[in-house]
């Protein structure tokens, strides 16, 4: 036994910018992407996909394909029948939701262009793809429901047998919920003696476009059927496989090896996974399917795709009195695993950081004959944030106020936390004043405003705009009771276990499943501090249902705030279990022991013992207290008590060439308050990457279908992912209001940048040309749209008229800002 030594505080791991443990492999090419796996006798799959958005399958002739060299089998939906299971929707947002059955390979009808109808199995991927060309499918084309608004009117049915395209209508009303007043009254009052801002905004369809195409390998040759998949959700996938195929869950092992990005796009149980599972079982051989990029863009789920009608009521001094939201949300042709739940995740966020007294949210989800939509980074919250942050800037313009001033007038003051919002959520902590002050300072807000004025006054052809987004989000999905009350099909807890190895090393198993976030590093830091062991001695295991037997995976900025808290609980249990052993070995009373810096010490003496020594003692089990279980390993399952509410102030300066519509980002500053930070380097990466995805929605990306329902942005030639040359370096900083609902005081950061940045950019673009009569430009703000907006009514101009019927059907075209005397 050695003398107790406090670890000096400077070696605390939490807060250090540790370089990532995961990187050594990734920078040397020693990687385990699913597509890298090769197994003896492995067969390769290629999908035959529908070129039509909506058609009956008249016949499928597989004979030529079957005769091809090295082709083993060609199977259709009819061949696989019930063995293929089904793709599930885990969240019926209403009990009467209309949910079409979703067979992985439909036998009778295709519902979007790109849907698989047959699978070719061959000895090589190239031979499978060649033979797929030989499968002769006869289709009887059906009219396709493509346009969201027309689909909502049931003009053409995406699923004729269902009789409607309307899947579910979900409503929240603050008066009914008892969380606020009556929004219609507020609007009526504002119309008589205040200001009403009405707008209709389009959330264009986006594609997550993770860099690693999805890939799945299934090996049926062991006692457990093993599936490797490029997925964010190995645990949920195993559940879905078992629940829909009848194979016992205990006979299925799902492994998410190295996964190359997800952003929500790999939060899915895919038809391709189900087909690979069925084919492997049928043939008794390992199979692999790896999609091409074109297949990925066409058939992996898309995100966003909403129309938002918005009415904001305010008094003449700029105090908001109510907000009414009407959404149409495009589900695509099926209700995906989260599906219609995505807009519902935004329902609680339209009121954002503000103290609105009345609020109503209505959402109609709609089926169409397009690729199904689901979670994409932010999932519902970027849409909500965009709407409210655009509206607040419009309100400021109407009042001729500084947009920060009108926000401050309405936001929750730092001394008012915890604050229960009009949507019924309790925000635990925040300081919008501090984040905004820091952002203004970093940005040089006043100087840029002065430059903007100079350019306006001089009639410069390049105008400067300043855009603001003071966002918050709810993340850390999620308290299970809340999910239950929303009719979600699962809980929101997370699991962790801590294994104290005999050699003094520590294995930590988490149910969160990283795909680029750096969990191995950040989680090691948490455990190293908690147990007082070296960072290097902690190994994080995840992403394999046989190792990590319990978990709910990674999405919704939950890994740290839910999974991290489970780690803390499990580590604390280790300490508690070690304590009586330490007391026994040190011949002291448990009450006299202190644990610090990885050591138990006897108060008032120099006697002590490291927790790793106790792990060794428990392993040997030669000398333990009577009746003591010979282990200090522990596990914990943590169910969060609340969501988590990061916030921040984002400021963007855009230059707009008024002659060409060309845009240039001049500066982007963000100050996010994400509570205590575990690893600032990882946080910076999450923020930068998030920002660019949000900026890309504002400026570049859109999934576009033609009039026959073909995705015309089906390759990286047409779907404009930003490059290094399109983007700039960012100025980021943080203020800190620790979360009060978890012991580490952390808040989620994975989605923050994406949620916040889109409205900051569009506000900046609009601000640059507002004096030219522009109050909106539809996303993505291409030079063409910007030019058209400047040069007359068209794609970009005013969107007030479209929003009017939302307010008053009988008075279309009414001046929505008459109350302001405009």
């Amino acid at each position: 036994m050695t003398a107790t030594q406090e670890r000096p505080t400077e070696t605390r791991e939490i807060g250090r910018d540790r370089r990532r443990k995961e990187d050594q492999r990734l920078i040397t090419g020693r990687t385990r992407w699913t597509d890298n796996l090769q197994l003896p006798g492995m067969l390769h799959l290629a999908m035959v996909r529908s070129p039509f958005a909506h058609a009956r399958i008249a016949s499928i002739d597989t004979s030529a394909a079957k005769q091809s060299t090295n082709v083993v089998a060609v199977l259709t939906g009819a061949d696989l029948a019930e063995t293929q299971g089904a793709c599930i929707n885990a969240w019926a947002i209403t009990t009467d939701q209309v949910t079409p059955a979703h067979p992985p390979l439909p036998a009778d009808r295709v519902t979007f262009a790109g849907e698989a109808v047959a699978v070719v199995v061959a000895r090589s991927a190239a031979e499978a793809r060649d033979a797929a060309e030989l499968v002769d499918v006869e289709y009887d084309e059906l009219p396709a429901a493509l346009d969201l608004k027309e689909a909502a009117a049931d003009k053409v049915l995406a699923h004729p047998d269902l009789g409607t395209n309307k899947s579910a209508f979900w409503k929240f009303d603050s008066a009914e919920a008892g969380t606020g007043g009556n929004v219609d009254e507020a609007i009526e009052k504002a119309r008589a003696d205040g200001i009403v801002i009405e707008r209709e905004y389009r959330q264009q369809r986006l594609i997550p476009a993770f860099m690693e195409p999805r890939s799945v390998v299934v090996d049926p040759t062991g006692e457990q059927i093993t599936m490797w998949s490029a997925t964010q959700i190995p645990h949920i996938l195993r559940f879905a496989l078992a629940a829909t195929t009848g194979v016992p869950e205990s006979k299925i092992r799902v492994i998410a090896p190295d996964v190359g990005g997800g952003f929500g796009g790999k939060l899915q149980q895919t038809p391709e996974e189900m087909v690979a599972f069925a084919v492997a079982r049928r043939l008794g051989k390992p199979v692999k399917y790896t999609e091409t990029r074109s297949e990925s863009l066409m058939s992996a789920h898309h995100g966003r795709d909403q129309w938002q009608k918005l009415t904001l009521a305010a008094t003449k001094d700029g105090t908001v009195t109510g907000l009414k939201v009407d959404l149409l949300a495009d589900l695509g042709s099926y209700v995906a695993i989260v599906g219609g739940g995505v807009p519902v995740l935004g329902a609680f966020m339209f009121n954002a950081i503000y103290k609105f007294p009345a609020y109503q949210f209505n959402c109609q989800t709609v089926l169409t004959n397009k690729t199904w939509t689901d979670a994409y980074r932010g999932a519902g919250r970027p849409e909500a944030t965009y709407a409210i942050e655009r509206l607040m800037s419009e309100l400021a313009a109407e009042l001729d106020m500084d947009p920060l001033e009108v926000r401050e007038k309405n936001w929750i003051k730092h001394e008012e936390f915890p604050f229960t919002t009009v949507a019924g959520l309790e925000y635990d902590s925040g300081n919008y004043e501090a984040a905004t002050a820091r952002a203004k300072e970093l940005f040089g807000y006043d100087e840029l405003r002065a430059e903007q004025k100079r350019r306006r006054d001089s009639g410069d052809t390049v105008q400067l705009g300043i855009g603001i987004s003071t966002f918050t989000e709810m993340c850390g999905l999620a308290p299970s009771r809340v999910l239950g009350s929303l009719n979600y099909g699962a809980g929101g807890w997370e699991h962790a276990s801590v294994r104290m190895l005999a050699t003094g090393k520590v294995e930590v198993v988490t149910g969160a499943s990283a795909h680029g976030q750096g969990h191995e590093t950040a989680f090691s830091q948490i455990v190293a501090d908690r147990l007082g062991v070296p960072f290097e001695d902690v190994e994080i295991l995840h992403g394999d249902t046989q190792v990590s037997h319990k978990g709910l995976d990674t999405y919704g900025s939950r890994s740290l705030v839910v999974g991290g808290e489970a780690l803390v609980l499990a580590a604390d249990k280790v300490i508690e279990k070690a304590k009586p052993i330490a007391a026994h070995l040190l011949e002291a009373s448990v009450d006299d022991l202190e644990f610090s810096g990885g050591r138990f010490s006897v108060r008032g003496t120099d006697q002590g013992m490291a927790i790793t020594e106790i792990a060794t003692a428990a392993f040997a089990a030669h000398n333990l207290p009577d009746g003591m279980e010979p282990t200090i390993d522990s596990e914990a399952t943590y169910d969060p008590v609340n969501f988590n509410f990061p916030h921040g102030t984002h400021l963007c300066a855009m230059e707009v060439d008024t002659e060409t519509g060309a845009l240039r980002m001049r500066k982007y500053v963000c100050v996010d308050d994400i509570g205590n930070i575990i690893n600032p380097l990882i946080v910076s990466g999450q923020v930068h990457g998030g920002l660019v995805q949000g900026i890309a929605q504002a400026l570049w990306e859109e999934a576009v279908y033609d009039e026959s329902g073909t995705l015309v942005t089906g390759s990286f030639v047409d779907y404009l992912l930003p490059t290094a040359a399109d983007t700039i370096s960012f100025d980021i900083d943080h203020t800190t209001s620790p979360s009060t609902t978890n012991s580490l005081g952390t808040k989620g950061v994975g989605e923050a940048g994406t949620i916040a940045s889109t409205p900051a950019v569009v506000n900046a673009v609009v601000d640059a040309v507002r004096h030219l009569g522009v109050d909106d430009i539809r996303m993505p703000c291409t030079p063409e749209r910007v030019w058209k907006a400047i040069n007359g009514p068209g794609a970009g101009g005013s969107t007030e008229a479209a929003a009017m019927p939302h307010f008053d059907q009988s008075e279309p075209g009414q001046d929505s800002t008459e109350g302001a005397g405009a």
Partner: protein
């Protein structure tokens, strides 16, 4: 089938290949060089970037037969004697990667960029990496990494 012989990461290799086989397929499927990955099918993403006879190429855009007699370096051959290449080291140091899927191509392109221009400006770095897509990092820390590797980096802070 066509016989090709080439050097890959310092080793002499020889195989019969279909004329249509892409270099990236040859590297991955025949040689097991799975460090080089495929991210798209239109030569936009650059994830498959390797060096062929000292120049960066997208290996999805080169037929295996075109590499006959050539010398190929992949991400797996970049470190020498267990020592990371300075660009590899810089990507780790500056957190220039997250999921790591674009990283092999991004590093190979950065190495080629610095060979041609040892002290690039930020703009030159951004233009030089334009053919390589990353979805995770927003490029900010990739640019920092290349600056760092070129000896122009500021001290790395988060």
């Amino acid at each position: 089938m066509t016989r090709i012989s080439l050097t890959v990461d310092g080793a002499s290799v020889s195989d019969d290949v279909e004329p249509r086989m892409l270099l990236v397929q040859y590297l991955r499927e025949r040689l097991g060089k799975t460090g080089t990955v495929i991210g798209c099918d239109t030569s936009n993403c650059g994830a498959c970037t390797v060096h062929l006879d000292g120049t960066s190429v997208k290996s999805c855009n080169v037929l295996a037969v075109q590499a006959d007699g050539g010398e190929v370096t992949t991400i797996e051959g970049l470190a020498t004697d267990g020592q990371l290449h300075p660009v590899q080291e810089a990507f780790r140091e500056c957190h220039g990667l997250q999921c790591g899927f674009c990283t092999p191509g991004m590093i190979m392109q950065s190495v080629a960029l610095l060979q041609e221009n040892p002290k690039p400006t930020e703009e030159e770095i951004r233009l030089g990496l334009e053919g390589n897509l990353c979805r995770c990092t927003g490029y900010h820390n990739i640019v920092r990494a290349v600056q760092h590797a070129s000896g122009q980096g500021e001290e790395v802070t988060a």
